[in-house]
Symmetry: C2
Subunit: 371 residues, 2 copies
Amino acid sequence: MTMKRGPHFYPVILAGGRGTRFWPLSRRRRAKQLLALDGKHTMIQQTVSRLTALASPKNFWIISNGDLRSAIVRQLPKLPSKQILAEPAGRNTAPAIGLAAYLLLRHDPDAVLGLFPSDHVIADEKTYQETLKIGIDIAAAGENIVVLGVRPTRPETGYGYIEVGAPAPSQSLRVRRFTEKPDADRAAEFLQAGNYLWNSGMFLWSARTLTHALEEHLSKTASLLAEIAAAFGTRKFDSSLKKLYPRCENISVDYAILEPRSAKGEAASNIFCVPADFGWNDLGSWTALYEHHSAKKPTPGANLVLAEKSFALNATGNYVHAPGKFVATVGVTGLVVVETDDALLITTLEHAQDVGKVVKYLDENNLDKLT
Amino acid sequence: MTMKRGPHFYPVILAGGRGTRFWPLSRRRRAKQLLALDGKHTMIQQTVSRLTALASPKNFWIISNGDLRSAIVRQLPKLPSKQILAEPAGRNTAPAIGLAAYLLLRHDPDAVLGLFPSDHVIADEKTYQETLKIGIDIAAAGENIVVLGVRPTRPETGYGYIEVGAPAPSQSLRVRRFTEKPDADRAAEFLQAGNYLWNSGMFLWSARTLTHALEEHLSKTASLLAEIAAAFGTRKFDSSLKKLYPRCENISVDYAILEPRSAKGEAASNIFCVPADFGWNDLGSWTALYEHHSAKKPTPGANLVLAEKSFALNATGNYVHAPGKFVATVGVTGLVVVETDDALLITTLEHAQDVGKVVKYLDENNLDKLT
């Protein structure tokens, strides 16, 4: 508790995603962040747990949706349930974090918000907390925007990148530019160049800075959010949220604020990147989960079988999830097989990124029980 | 019914095998012959059904074991249940068919026995029946032994072969020699030579011929079987079977009688082969089952998925059995995946022959619930 940053730090956790790549385990009402993919606690429980060293439970806000809200309330009984919000319609990250900023500004003019995804893994929690402390202090010191940038370890094409420039106080770096997901050649260049970091999706800024930025870059949405926030705590809040939120622009915070702001030049934009080195993993697919777990094993390319019992005969490097069953793997390698009460997924570590397309098929064919 | 061979033909069906290569569907108490692997009737029901054109239900005898007998009685309600016998201990084919011969000889001195496996597929039942009629007539005509030989279509190493010689009456051929399962080179030679046929395991001979052969080649076992048969219909039968049958030699009819008999030379041995050309398939593994079903499909290399519903994305040539589930296959080929209430098998069409080793592992580790 010695690490607590005092009463002004407010974690805002985005938990509205579906995580369709973890189908058939992930479902509309049991999204990836509600699954215990790494250990016995769910991803969102772990997210909250590692932030409680920096903020008291009453400071947490969660933005989710109507399908997931009640499960989240059950999974996080220590958090104030009125601060677990359900978007009436998905509007991407800018309105979500913006709403939190207006709500907090009314409550605490000195509020510093941290924006956190709810479904990532952090190996080294102590370093994570130390890194956040640095970011919180920079965010609290003025009209600054702080992004945590992860040092790339491979030419990943699935993430956005942050190009960094001049060193700035507190081990941070000025941000020169945000880039979209690159192609393979560009990703290799970024890795080679050394001054590109992965955009972790974790941001820190004061409520004041964020509301100013919204008013500058997204003024109509800013007004709608301010109006919703003004109704918080009254009987009109739910109807106000339901009526006004869907009218907000459907846009990411990166695209709405960070990219235009960084276009001002690294000195004028006041965007800082704190390099993060705490074993970050976004567990983007069954393959990432396999690699995450197999890295902990003494033998590389192990068979990872979550089952009642199992037997492998000339079978290695497979990920099998079939709790309660006896699983036999014979002469297979590189497979991903996931079984639930109503579904069976059979794919490979190489093709697991396409699992979202199965959910797309189910959506298009109205097979709602399976999504 | 015009094809009936009169009252003297008695089909004897061997149904004591486990069919472990169809695990996890096949179990000790639900062996391969009790499964509906091809259509809605089980393998043993199909075996009986295609023979009822040649013999009345009261002429059937089935030799099985204590694990399977009651299920067989349930599956074949028209057969006299006292003719569905359970071996107290597995003693291979010679004692099983020998017991039937002694039982029938007491009942009908002119009995002709047909020995039939209970778990094979026959595509052309009419030709099958015509072929058997030829064999029955040869068997009834004297001290003759008739074997149905299947024309080989590939250099199969999993079957025994019959080397045939001089033509004999009724489209049959003299048998020169029975050979054990060959290696790949020998199997290729056999296929090339043209005078080798697969041993189908289907034999025809009179009860008299068979008992004589047993007395000549396996005299101690013959006495034991005669003693058991003498007790049939009395209260002593069960205890006699239980006490004496396990003392019979554990040996196949091929090894005990056919090989030594054929060593006498093709003229003296009186063994005849009737070439069989009726779409025989022993469905030896999941792979054989896949090929059997996919051959009926318009598209070669189809995905065969037995499930509630399914979706394939860049996935072909897989066999999946998961009734009641939604099955998604993504980017996989040549796999065999079979799901039951308590087990999940994941293998390939190439490795499915090794599935018996899973059952061996389960046996060795006393995982009896799974076998």
